[in-house]
Symmetry: C2
Subunit: 407 residues, 2 copies
């Protein structure tokens, strides 16, 4: 028998959100409570916009007739969507990205997870706290060393704390690749153009690959915050950008996203200059068969005038949830960060309480579920994450219960 | 900068179907010909069945309303589909597979490509000719050695030729994993229950993992041919099975398939017994976010009485295309194999002509595109593949042109 990939055996057993679900389930069953409000997992609740719905109905109809049937699409996505992206997400902001540099997929989790396929040995840096996929996918590829209970020995962690405004400092040790996610999950914080420019200049100088996760770009309201890393001069030489329709347009169940790998992004491989987008194209052509035609038609509809207006309105709804909850937390004397350019609030626990303890208090007293910050990494200790993706009535009720909390 | 995965640099530059498309394009443009019929690429042409269409419209409607909206689904697929599979594809044939052993995905290409993620070092065997994904995904993982022009030094090839009825012999050297695809792509041939039982018994004895690609199962008409490898005693201890709705129900553009990894399939990892489905679950939870809800609803509709009847009718249509073309080829004196339990015909070239030469003759004289067998591996030389997935009128016209062929 073939051996298994031993790196999988080093992974810690359980997954953060599975832990939370298990605790919530036990609580519900033990106390027969049925009014638990989950503001923990970052899943959307508002329906798809009418433009996407209409486009997807049309797509299903096309597939129902022989004369308009579509079989296999291009692995990299249909031209109609790649062109809409190049125009709608880049040219409209003064960034020149060609449709050939865009790879449509079934979502940013697949892309951020699979990107390690095309990479070789090297030191990886992540922010701390961090979205677990970046770390776990590197651990699976044997690029993380050993797990020591809270950290991986081979990963460089960049602490994001209140002291540094939750924005990472440049690594002091040599690294080869760094994951940046802005607007940030879980912290809800952003980098301004100036702050991001420092990272790009450093990456160009030190020859570092930036994997830039921009899944929450649609929530940016501050004009000083870039929507794409390619707004920064030089970024095309050092950065891959990941985008998703999950949070932009409620596509968490529809599955569509994309990665941008500019032509200028090359690596020297033993004297041979290799374009990373060639390797990714080869990877996708071999191990992926394109996103669903129906999902791609839905995604393209988001770029119409109607689609833009409708998705914007839903995003404003979520941002107003964030503002509502932030106000309520503030009135309790709790410090909440983020939530103005991102769908997440990063909330400091009272009196430095451990985040799982605060999770338990919120669950037991207020029947509210949040995400303990420690689950995202050691520097997340002392914080919990709330999402803004619920329905308004949940936040109204959550605020009412929070007011009665005894800490 | 991180290094690239050097294994990618060993891959031969071009992909079989890209080569074919380029030759066909050049031919069309040079001669201004617009009546080329492609019977090369294995893509379907018939529309989705009404049951799937109705279910997908309903799913889109559900996503359009707040009260029935679905966000993230389980990474392994919705219970409604996993249960339909367990009942419709397994229990109905007397095979006990639990929904927990089923992992719904966006298609069999993703699954057969990604499965190498959870495997460690070991010797891989494939049939020759073979679907390129099995080989390329192992080459990308560094498990194929070096490419020597036609073969990889680290892969064991099992020749399938006319002499052995296009069914591979058991490997004479020690291997750790073997890919089997039956009904076979590209050869259109099958294994009977008795033939497959020899492989399973051998795998149990030698501790070999069988990766069983059953994407064309729906085309089986011969009752002696198993639809699932789990119909064979002992297979649950040694085999992973891959299934797809692409050819069963025309889902090449919709994207849905699944893999089965039985609980009994375990590997000893340094004294620790590891269930492969645990590792795959971890892989999918980390790097995949579930297949589209709409696609899963469409797939579930295939298991209704109406869905079964409709998909069966389309499959009969394709099989009758195969029979029609096989008869026409026979009348020309060409020997065609397969096509009775599979949507592919494996056609011997006249007088041992190289397959790319015969491809050129068919293109130039008859404006027909086939797939040269040599593209699937050295033992494919001397054969070409025709698919049955076209429209009937294409086969009528193809037969007419074939009769005028001067070889």
């Amino acid at each position: 028998m073939i051996r298994v990939n031993d790196n999988y055996l080093k992974l810690p057993g359980s997954y953060l959100f599975a832990d939370i679900a298990a605790r919530a389930r036990a609580f519900r069953q033990t106390l027969a409570v049925d009014d638990v409000i989950s503001l923990g997992i970052g899943d959307v609740t508002q329906p798809l916009c009418d433009a996407a719905v209409a486009a997807m109905h049309d797509a299903v109809d096309e597939l129902s007739r022989v004369e308009s049937f579509h079989g296999y699409g291009p692995e990299q996505g249909y031209d109609f969507l790649r062109k809409a992206i190049a125009e709608g997400d880049y040219a409209s902001r003064g960034v020149k990205i060609s449709p050939d540099e865009i790879f449509v997929s079934d979502g940013a989790k697949s892309d951020t997870g699979n990107i390690v396929d095309i990479l070789g040995a090297g030191r990886v840096a992540v922010t701390d706290p961090v979205y677990p996929v970046y770390v776990d996918s590197n651990a699976m590829a044997g690029r993380a060393g050993d797990y020591t209970g809270t950290r991986w020995s081979g990963i460089t962690y960049l602490p994001c704390k209140e002291e540094n405004g939750f924005v990472p400092q440049l690594p002091s040790e040599k690294v080869d690749v760094v994951y940046l996610c802005f607007p940030n999950n879980p912290m809800g914080t952003v980098m301004t153009r100036g702050e991001l420019a420092v990272w790009v200049a450093w990456a160009v100088e030190k020859n570092v690959l930036i994997l830039y996760d921009s899944a929450y770009e649609a929530f940016i309201t501050n004009p000083a915050v870039p929507h794409s890393i390619y707004e920064i001069e030089g970024a095309k030489r050092v950065a891959i950008e990941f985008r998703s329709y999950s949070k932009t347009a409620g596509f968490t169940g529809v599955r569509c996203g994309y990665a941008v790998i500019p032509d200028e992004l090359t690596v020297d491989a033993g004297g041979r200059t290799v374009r990373l987008n060639e390797l990714w194209k080869r990877r996708q052509c071999t191990k992926f068969n394109g996103a669903s035609y129906i999902s791609q038609r839905g995604a393209a509809a988001i770029y119409t005038e109607e689609g833009r207006r409708q998705t914007k309105s839903t995003i404003e709804y979520y941002l107003s949830n964030a503002a509502y909850l932030k106000k309520a937390l503030g009135e309790m004397g709790l410090k909440a960060f983020g939530g103005t350019d991102a769908p997440y609030l990063w909330v400091k626990t009272p009196d430095g309480m451990p985040s799982w303890d605060f999770f338990d208090i919120l669950l037991r007293q207020a029947h509210l579920i949040c995400t303990p910050g420690a689950g995202f990494g050691p520097s997340g200790e002392g914080f919990v994450r709330f999402t803004a993706f619920g329905r308004r009535e949940s936040y109204v009720e959550a605020a009412r219960r929070l007011k009665k909390l005894i800490i």
